[in-house]
């Protein structure tokens, strides 16, 4: 049998809540099919499967929160018979990282982690009321937890909070909330703290003239219909991807003490969300796509990121990240690397600057491109070549 597990949907995720199954037992699935929708603290993500098979049994039910790696469902491999297939042992599902309630009636709690009989309605009810299921005594058939049990427990115990306390200024715990913004803040804090703790960053920057790129873009957009218009962000994204081919030590993942370069460039794009927070889903195979295709992909990605509807592969496999903070008017941005990636390229605002070329001073639109890179995977010299390659590519926009 195939175990379908909850993947890591970004380096800042620890657990996920199953929202919905997209394949029911008996349904055939193939590689790349969306089989479930999982809520991380950032977005509802459509989780794809990367094996072919037939959905056999749901292990986790909608509404349950489980840690990364938990088995969500079992599938039959092609040709496998449900009667004879060996069902793997599955560790009992535990609520992931739920802090113990302050005043749980401990005597009533069963052994932690034991698989209990809880009706979906009771489970839903427990969640709505913030009741810790481990602390509820079941009075239904076979010790099953019923809706009435949940209501009794809700009256007896204070509600469980889903996020551990956040530290405010001066280290004082602030009132925890179930607020999505707070959850996202916490997720970002975890990933970025891990990055700064584990990754020896080095930083480089270079000011690049966009005179040629801007002139080319203006002429190109004047020719295109409005709906096919390109943004400078697409040109810079493409330049980064092509530069990765010349400098492969910027593109890939650092795992288990070594760097594994990636042939494909899946570029994560930092997208700020209107309600606050940040998400960096990836565009696949940027090295192999035309500018028009990238523009469509980027527009679609921004739209879906803001609507909270992303796919698992977009969240889990970016090989490098690009951030455009220039919109806010800042001159430059030095990003924090998303582990397990090894580089993040930042572009500041595009501004008209004095520019010396052929011994003359001209006014040219220019941008500060920056690189934060992982010193375990590359050195400053390689990083400098990488930035120089991005600059060179942007001088030949027609070839992008």
């Amino acid at each position: 049998m195939i175990e379908f597990k909850l993947p890591a949907l970004g380096s800042d995720m620890e657990e996920g809540k199953l929202l919905e199954w997209k394949a029911k037992p008996g349904d055939k699935v193939k590689r790349g099919d969306v089989v479930a929708v999982v809520d991380t603290s950032k977005a509802a993500v459509e989780v794809e499967i990367w094996e072919e098979g037939t959905m056999h049994e749901w292990i986790v039910q909608p509404g349950e929160t489980v840690p990364i790696g938990a088995v969500l469902a079992l599938l039959l491999a092609p040709g496998e018979n449900p009667e004879t297939a060996v069902r793997p042992e599955i560790a009992p599902v535990r609520p992931a990282a739920a802090p113990a309630p302050v005043a749980a009636p401990a005597a009533a709690a069963p052994a932690p982690g034991a698989r209990r009989r809880i009706s979906p309605a009771a489970r839903k009810h427990a969640e709505d009321l913030g009741v810790n299921l481990d602390a509820v005594e079941g009075t239904g058939p076979g010790g099953a937890v019923t809706v009435e049990d949940i209501e009794r427990a809700a009256k007896a115990a204070p509600p469980r909070r889903s996020a551990p306390p956040l530290l405010g200024e001066e280290g004082k715990a602030v009132q925890p909330t179930l607020d999505r913004a707070a959850e996202m803040r916490r997720a970002i804090a975890l990933a970025m703290s891990r990055s700064k703790r584990e990754i020896p960053h080095y930083y480089l920057s270079e000011t690049i003239s966009l005179a040629r790129a801007a002139a080319w873009l203006e002429a190109e957009n004047a020719r295109r219909p409005m709906t096919g218009r390109l943004l400078m962000a697409v040109l810079t994204l493409r330049a980064v991807a092509l530069a990765c081919k010349a400098c492969p030590d910027m593109n890939g993942h650092f795992r288990d003490g070594r760097f594994a370069p990636s042939a494909a460039v899946h570029a994560g794009v930092a997208i700020s969300l209107r309600q606050g927070g940040l998400i960096a889903p990836g565009i696949h195979d940027v090295q192999a796509k035309s500018l028009s295709e990238l523009m469509r992909n980027l527009a679609d990605l921004v739209k879906r990121a803001r609507a909270g509807s992303l796919r698992s592969s977009e969240m889990s496999d970016p090989t490098i990240t690009v951030t455009n903070l220039g919109e806010g008017g800042v001159e430059s941005v030095f990003g924090v690397i998303y582990p397990p990636q090894v580089a993040i390229v930042g572009f500041g605002t595009i501004a008209r600057r004095p520019w010396v070329e052929d011994g003359e001073v001209r006014i040219a639109p220019a941008v500060v491109a920056s690189l934060s890179a992982d010193h375990r995977a590359s050195d400053g010299h390689r990083g400098a070549l990488f930035l120089a390659e991005i600059a060179r590519l942007l001088q030949q926009p027609e070839k992008l």
């Binding site: 203006e218 957009n221 004047a222 409005m226 709906t227 943004l231 209107r274 309600q275 980027l298 921004v302």
Partner: protein, 81 residues
């Protein structure tokens, strides 16, 4: 479409892009991008939405004319005439 209707349409499309916006907060005489957090992707989406709704072409060269809400309404009015 008269100026009032045009303004209503523009604000509607703007609020589709920036749902956090409240109509009463918008001053027609102040630069729009000082009042609403619009990046270049939002801006393009906003103009494309107006283009599709009003069947108006808005060349990039005209972006410089579209600073305040009042400017945008006047521009669209002139294009429709």
């Amino acid at each position: 479409m008269d100026a009032l209707e045009l303004r209503k349409t523009v604000v509607e499309e703007l609020m589709r892009i920036a749902p956090e916006l409240e109509e009463g907060e918008l001053a027609g005489s102040r630069p729009l991008r000082e009042q609403v957090d619009l990046d270049s992707m939002d801006w393009l989406n906003f103009l494309v939405a107006l283009h599709e709704r009003l069947k108006v072409e808005i060349p990039e060269a005209d972006y410089a004319k579209l600073v305040r809400l009042d400017d945008i309404v006047a521009y669209l009015k002139s294009k429709q005439a």
